[in-house]
């Protein structure tokens, strides 16, 4: 009798351990999948590939593109400022040919961009009408992308499908 009970107990324990392990595996794979999908590079809408062009847009233009669920790149800039000059030049000299938009800070700060980008300049990657990646001028981690064109290029390559 005692032996039977012990076997039953160990079977239960085994079942509990196995089910816990399975749950753990399932949960972590789901989390990994979510993380993986969230960090995938964005494929821009086809019209943005092939040409290097900078198009100035207004607040209204930007908001319309969000409504239209477009996938694009926008640089948050401020023309009358020396601090953005370097970023502007680095973007122009990128070997990857793609068209991106430029929105000036006075316009950008009245859009949803302001909840992500606190200081110009910044490069923002929008996927299907939602901001997905952006550079922070007040982050040590992002500082290299503001100073080195090769670093900026590799950041863009990791965030955009070229």
């Amino acid at each position: 009798m005692n032996q039977k009970r012990t076997t039953k107990k160990s079977k239960r324990l085994y079942l509990v351990i196995v089910s816990c392990a399975i749950t753990l595996i399932i949960v972590s794979s789901v989390l990994l999948a979510i993380f993986w999908t969230n960090n995938l590079p964005v494929t821009l809408d086809p019209q943005y590939y092939g040409n290097t062009e900078v198009i100035d847009i207004s607040k209204t233009d930007y908001e319309t593109m969000l409504k239209d669920k477009k996938s694009f790149v926008v640089m948050v800039d401020n023309a009358g400022c020396t601090t953005t000059a370097k970023m502007r030049d680095m973007m122009k000299d990128l070997p990857e040919k793609f068209t991106y938009y430029r929105i000036l800070w006075p316009e950008a700060k009245d859009t949803d961009l302001a909840s992500y980008v606190k200081y110009f300049p910044s490069i923002v990657v929008v996927e299907k009408g939602k901001v997905k990646y952006y550079l922070r001028a007040d982050s040590d981690e992002d500082a290299k992308y503001y100073n080195d064109s090769a670093a900026l290029e590799s950041w863009l390559k990791s965030k955009i499908n070229f």
């Binding site: 100035d56 401020n78 023309a79 400022c81 020396t82 502007r88 007040d138 982050s139 503001y146």
Partner: protein, 246 residues
């Protein structure tokens, strides 16, 4: 004997008089008045002494990232500069030009000073030292006379005999110096110029850019109809014609 006792016939006074003839209520009023005066004087003295004891400033500390590279402070910046305005131990300068010769409108910008934070006075950095590295599209910036020339090795050479005196007059060494501009660039350059000329780096705060300011002391110079009210701007001009070339 019908004569009435005057002490009995006179109506007794409600307010008893003292020997000196003052009523006790009068004395009470005088005492209350004196106490009130003393309280007012003491409290005003306390209030004055409290206001003269300025809150100590946090030591300058650089922000993270590119803003830190521009010299923008982590603790005192556009977000909280309102708390530090109007200090008697400090001077406040915005380093932009009233009208920048660089054609910023060619890239969608504005060459005119569109506003500033109340309490800041305008001293254009391009008059203090030479500026390099403007974007090609805006063409040349200010190329006129400057008090100092920035050399390739990062040092500064005074161009006029009065250059150091003017710098010391504008930026007193015994005061805290709060610097601002449009985005932080000119302010950071000014800090560099001052430090290289012997100012204490721990007394200089680059508080960032007017473009990021959302506080309660915004003075708009650009009007809604596109005109500018430049008379609002406390502007420091440097007349190079009156200076002696070195």
């Amino acid at each position: 004997m019908t004569s009435a006792n005057p002490a009995k016939t006179t109506k007794p006074s409600i307010k008893p008089e003292t020997k000196s003839g003052f009523k006790s209520s009068d004395i009470l009023i005088v005492i209350v008045a004196i106490v009130l005066c003393v309280v007012m004087i003491v409290s005003s003295i306390i209030a004055r002494s409290e206001s003269s004891q300025l809150k100590p400033l946090p030591a300058p500390e650089l922000s993270e990232g590119q803003r830190g590279e521009l010299g923008i402070d982590k603790n005192i910046n556009e977000g909280n500069i309102d708390q530090y305005l109007g200090r008697s131990d400090s001077v406040y300068y915005d380093m932009r030009m009233l009208e920048d010769p660089a054609a910023y409108e060619s890239i969608g910008g504005d060459r005119y000073l569109s506003g500033f934070v109340d309490g800041f006075e305008i001293v254009p950095y391009p008059y203090l030292a030479s500026v390099k590295g403007l974007p090609a599209a805006v063409g040349e910036g200010y190329t006129g006379e400057t008090l100092f020339t920035k050399n390739d090795d990062g040092t500064y050479t005074a161009n006029y005999q009065e250059s150091e005196t003017i710098l010391s007059d504008i930026f007193p060494k015994d005061k805290y110096i709060f610097l601002m501009c449009g985005g932080g660039g000119y302010a950071g350059m000014t800090k560099d110029l001052l430090i290289k000329n012997g100012w204490d780096k721990d007394k200089i705060y680059v508080v960032g850019g007017y473009w990021f300011y959302n506080g309660a002391h915004n003075v708009k110079v650009k009007n809604d109809d596109g005109t500018y009210s430049f008379w609002k701007v406390p502007y420091h001009n440097i007349n190079f014609n009156n200076l002696t070339k070195k």
